[in-house]
Symmetry: C2
Subunit: 370 residues, 2 copies
């Protein structure tokens, strides 16, 4: 990775709130970043994208947004994008396009719970989902034909799985398994949730897609098999995607790092979010070799947008991931710890977590623990 | 549907235990079918298939199995098939092939819980997943190339979504919503879990796959829109597949009938199984216009095969579904009620449900309630 780990030049970060509650949670995350003591200096630039922007201008992702990110920024924070409920001619998801334009090949999605009186029945887990972020069915290569015999429509989509992309995602998974182990060693033993050898679980469905998921599986396995010195200490297991969802709900504590092709990763990470109380606490980072984009996993939540009660935690954690993957790990850890302290306390929570607090009150609570 | 609803000629049913615990649960289900008083007469025929059969003979699905089912049987019960953990040349899943050969276009998967002292924390739900069963990525049209520039492998799979298959699956969903409503009306109000208008939830990911999932979505919607007299009383809603998994875990009681393309349906039904205690209780029926094949959703469970402790409930319920979809609804209901009584009692359960009983003891308990 070609980032400077911590230079004194300011970090130029694009802020793309996009739709709905994105406009509330991105400023919240920005405030927390700006409040880090001795943290990096930031140079924030506000950029447009989203469905609402599309409705006003006819484009969901203006070229100036792409160019500014590519040419001027080291990273970005993306809010959330509304999906039109009906097919809208000319509209296409800006987040999927950004991942592609910036070659953000791994979507890093930590899903962890914090022991708290507010969630007495919550399962204890600390998993990290690495979602391949550039291909699978997300290449959007689709076509529709009409069967001449019947006059009925038939549509096809191409699912692409390449050795190149699978290897990048797999390498990220094994590297993160090692990084997590190192970070855990800094924590007192009794506070560690994951107490085993680091583990990578490879998700696939090669019992049906023997060629594409077969290639995925073999390529990710080869990351470890070809590099036993580096990854020999990491356990490797496999799980068919259907069983993965089943097992994740039955014994989420059995997973450390989980690596999956794009679509499975999308589904699994939303599923995992259900285990930690709310999509409102689950962050992600879209990571490439030269750029990182933090992005809460939740959507634009039109039902609560504008009410000031959206949960800023996913966005704040995403800003932490942004810092972590730009090399500012210690500042990221401070942000995670501050958020964890608010959750562990359990008295200042937004309604999605059963609380009565506002976005701003949660931000204040996080700042107090920073 | 072209079945006679209940003639006096015996029903010819193929039994295909296949691998692992399939060999234990299929005989269990057969015993319950044979014990129905005033039930239909059966003529069972034992047929081979599976991974173990492949290892012995080089074929996973012998032609005689296909021919016997096609030419002689009205229905079948399939056990479970082992998936080889490594790619095995020449092997391909017999269950996927059978669905195709027999044109079993809808996979009907009821997932319901029963109030029981044995499962005090179990969520209350009563949903029915209709999984399109013939296309999507399951058409197994895959190819691998080598990128000449890099020498690296690239694989592609075709995902097919047709108007024809989507309409058949969608029609099954709306019809089942009406059928379920009728059956509920026979139950006393306080025992009904689902107390609302019948509802069909359409699962898709048309925010990314606007052409294929767009066609799926429009076609299933049209089933109701084109037939307001018949389906006007059924509510229709949509859910993106990632949100579907999230919502299913957060509020499973919100779903009645859920209809999904093949792969999403596979994943969702395993996920739903985690909500009702065990894959060992979740049945399915592969339904076509001229044939029905019952199939427990669980796998071959090599870890417990041969120990006599596999849960027969999924297979017994699958045999009930077989009868239901062959037109013997009242006998099917008797079987469901007997199983529900055993679960509600909660004292005779196999280990997957936290009990200590054997397969045979559970079968005896079911027979006692029949
Ligand atoms: C909005 C949508 C295109 C997106 C995806 O499927 O990747 C979202 O669900 C996510 O997980 O970031
Ligand atoms: C064994 C496998 C091919 C099958 C499927 O994916 O359909 C199974 O998971 C199922 O759900 O019946």
């Amino acid at each position: 990775r070609s980032f400077a780990t911590a230079s004194s030049a300011p970090l130029k970060i694009g802020l793309i709130p996009a739709d709905g509650i994105g406009r509330e949670v991105i400023p919240a995350a920005q405030r927390v970043l700006e409040s880090l003591s001795n943290g990096p200096r930031f140079d924030f630039v506000h950029l447009d994208a989203g469905f609402e922007y599309f409705q006003k201008t006819g484009t969901a992702l203006p070229q100036v947004t792409i160019d500014t990110l590519k040419n001027e920024c080291q990273g970005a924070l993306f809010g959330a994008v509304s999906s039109p409920s009906h097919k809208v001619a000319g509209y296409s998801s800006p987040i999927v396009a950004l991942r592609k334009h910036l070659d953000l090949y791994a979507n890093v999605r930590p899903v962890a719970s914090v022991a708290s009186p507010a969630f007495p029945n919550q399962k204890v887990l600390d998993m990290l989902i690495i979602r391949e972020n550039t291909e699978c069915l997300y290449i959007k290569s689709e076509r529709q034909e009409v069967d001449p015999a019947t006059g009925l429509k038939v549509a096809y989509a191409d699912r692409k799985i390449s050795e190149y992309a699978s290897k990048r995602a797999g390498t990220m998974a094994f590297n993160m398994a090692l990084t997590r182990q190192q970070l855990r060693e800094q924590k007192p033993l009794e506070n560690r949730i994951w107490k085993h050898k680091p583990r990578v679980t490879i998700v696939h469905k090669s019992n049906v897609m023997s060629v594409t998921d077969g290639l995925w599986r073999e390529t990710v396995r080869a990351v470890k098999e070809d590099n036993p010195e580096k990854y020999g200490g990491v356990d490797m297991e496999e799980q068919l995607v259907d069983s993965m969802v089943y097992r994740m709900f039955r014994e989420p504590e059995a997973f450390d790092v989980v690596v999956a092709p794009n679509l499975y990763g999308d589904i699994i990470s939303d599923g995992a979010a259900a285990l930690v109380g709310s999509l409102g606490v689950v962050p992600s980072a879209n990571v490439g070799d030269n750029f990182v984009m933090g992005e809460p996993v939740h959507g634009s939540a039109p039902d609560i947008a504008g009410k000031g009660i959206s949960n800023p935690i996913a966005a704040i954690r995403s800003a932490g991931l942004l810092l972590e993957h730009l090399g500012h790990t210690q500042h990221a850890l401070k942000m995670y710890d501050a958020v964890d302290a608010v959750l562990a306390d359990g008295s200042i929570l937004t309604p999605d977590l059963g609380g009565k607090s506002t976005t701003n009150e949660v931000v204040e609570a996080v700042l107090k623990h920073l």
